[in-house]
């Protein structure tokens, strides 16, 4: 476990070091890419100068709204679908093919409907995220042992109480897997749609910097998206591992 972590960090450090060397020696030109160390310095300058803070707050805020609403509605939907086997039967094939849909193709339509504000990009992020939550939650709900439901009946729990006190707590590790996807998908949805068409936000700023050969803005923003996404993902991963460890299982 410890050894694997050390090796993983070593591999990452070696890759970043290799990239740094390629940039420093001029194999990769300065117009193409900044050395990773410069990106860090530029990111620090960018954050302290505060010029793009509004864009960062907007994008992360929109992704947050998309993610939280996808998780909450996804949980509700999963509990409802789980309780209705015939609906489940009808929907399962749709869930299986859902991610074959290029969600961004709906973006122009959403702009026509809702204007060029935050809503269309939030909807894209939400739509990408919610089905991952539903599918993973359903997977967890399917695994609840029957004897726990019998126990619930003995203490006369209502259906809502069974979901809240038995099936969802049991399914928590699976739900967290869905939440990890939801975080990634909502960031992809929001930032991706800002790339395509928007008036502000991180995706817009990255595209704008790209068009203006402004590597000192573009790369730090990309780095920041990476850091935020990976940090959230590992935080949820750590929670997931703790829950599983309590149940005597490895993640």
């Amino acid at each position: 476990m410890k050894g694997a972590l050390a090796l993983r960090l070593a591999v990452l450090a070696a890759l970043v070091g290799f990239l740094e060397a390629l940039c420093r020696t001029g194999v990769i030109g300065a117009f193409t890419m900044q050395p990773p160390s410069r990106m860090l310095v530029d990111l620090w300058k960018l954050l302290t100068s505060g010029t793009l803070n509004a864009a960062i707050v907007k994008t992360l805020g929109n992704a947050g709204i998309a993610c939280v609403s996808a998780v909450l509605l996804g949980l509700l939907a999963a509990v409802a679908i789980h309780a209705l086997p015939r609906l489940r039967e009808a929907l399962d094939p749709l869930f299986a093919t859902y991610y074959a849909i290029p969600m961004f193709a709906f973006y122009p339509l959403l702009i026509i409907l809702f204007g060029l504000g935050s809503l269309p990009s939030i909807i894209i992020g939400f739509m990408l995220a919610i089905v991952a939550v539903i599918v993973n939650t359903l997977n967890g709900l399917d695994r609840v042992p029957g004897v726990l439901l019998k126990t619930a009946r003995v203490v006369r729990l209502s259906r809502a109480a069974i979901a809240w006190r038995i099936t969802l707590p049991f399914a928590l590790p699976y739900v967290l897997t869905g939440v990890k996807f939801a975080v990634a998908y909502s960031l992809i949805g929001v930032i991706g749609s800002e790339f395509i068409m928007a008036t502000d936000g991180m995706g817009y700023e990255i595209a704008f910097a790209y068009n203006n050969f402004d590597n000192a803005t573009m790369y730090p923003l990309i780095l920041m998206v990476l850091v935020v996404s990976i940090a959230l993902n590992s935080a949820i991963g750590a929670w997931e591992r703790r829950v599983l460890a309590r149940r005597g299982r490895q993640a």
Partner: protein, 183 residues
């Protein structure tokens, strides 16, 4: 009501598992804590209140489930093959604990089992049931004193009781496995 399978909630500590039903009936903090502490002590789970079921043995988890039932202070306890998943030694020990518990709580216990010796040792009265449709074929009064433990297996009456139970069950079992008429 206690089941054959492990019905402990893996995401709750031992204490929270035991308090589950009490929360449901909305029992207040102090009284709930008192009953949970008492059940933990009674079931020999002292020191494990904050452990999770995954850290316990199968026998201990089953004791958690029995404790969860006990704190509700039922007058009738239904046990559906509660020791079926346990090894023979643990079964006998759990049987003794059940006898102690029964004497302390005064609750009526209805226990379903396939083990003849378990029935003969634990019960005051044994109903022998037929295969489908389930009917009572015979009722056996064991006549044990209330203050008994697993050592009743040494008594001559014990052999007589199990023999009578098996005599009743043999034909039934033969039929159940499809050899009706041969016996």
């Amino acid at each position: 009501m206690v089941f054959q399978e492990d019905a402990s909630f893996p995401w709750l500590t031992v204490a929270d598992n035991i308090a589950f039903g009490l929360r449901q009936i909305g029992l207040s903090g102090a009284e709930r804590d008192r009953r949970v502490a008492e059940a933990i002590e009674m079931m020999g789970l002292g020191g494990f209140a904050t452990s999770y079921p995954a850290q316990l043995s199968g026998g201990m988890r089953q004791r958690v489930c029995i404790a969860r039932t006990l704190v509700m202070q039922p007058r009738l306890i239904l046990l559906d093959e509660p020791f079926g998943a346990l090894d023979q030694q643990t079964r006998l020990i759990m049987g003794e604990e059940l006898l102690r518990l029964w004497r302390r709580t005064g609750a009526t216990v209805l226990l379903i089992t396939h083990a003849l010796d378990e029935a003969a040792m634990l019960a005051d009265r044994i109903g022998v049931m037929s295969a489908r449709p389930g009917r009572i074929l015979d009722t056996v009064e064991t006549g044990w004193p209330a203050e008994r433990d697993s050592r009743v297996v040494e008594r001559p009456e014990f052999g007589a009781i199990t023999a009578r139970l098996w005599g009743r069950l043999r034909t039934e079992s033969m039929q159940a496995i499809g050899r009706g008429g041969v016996a």
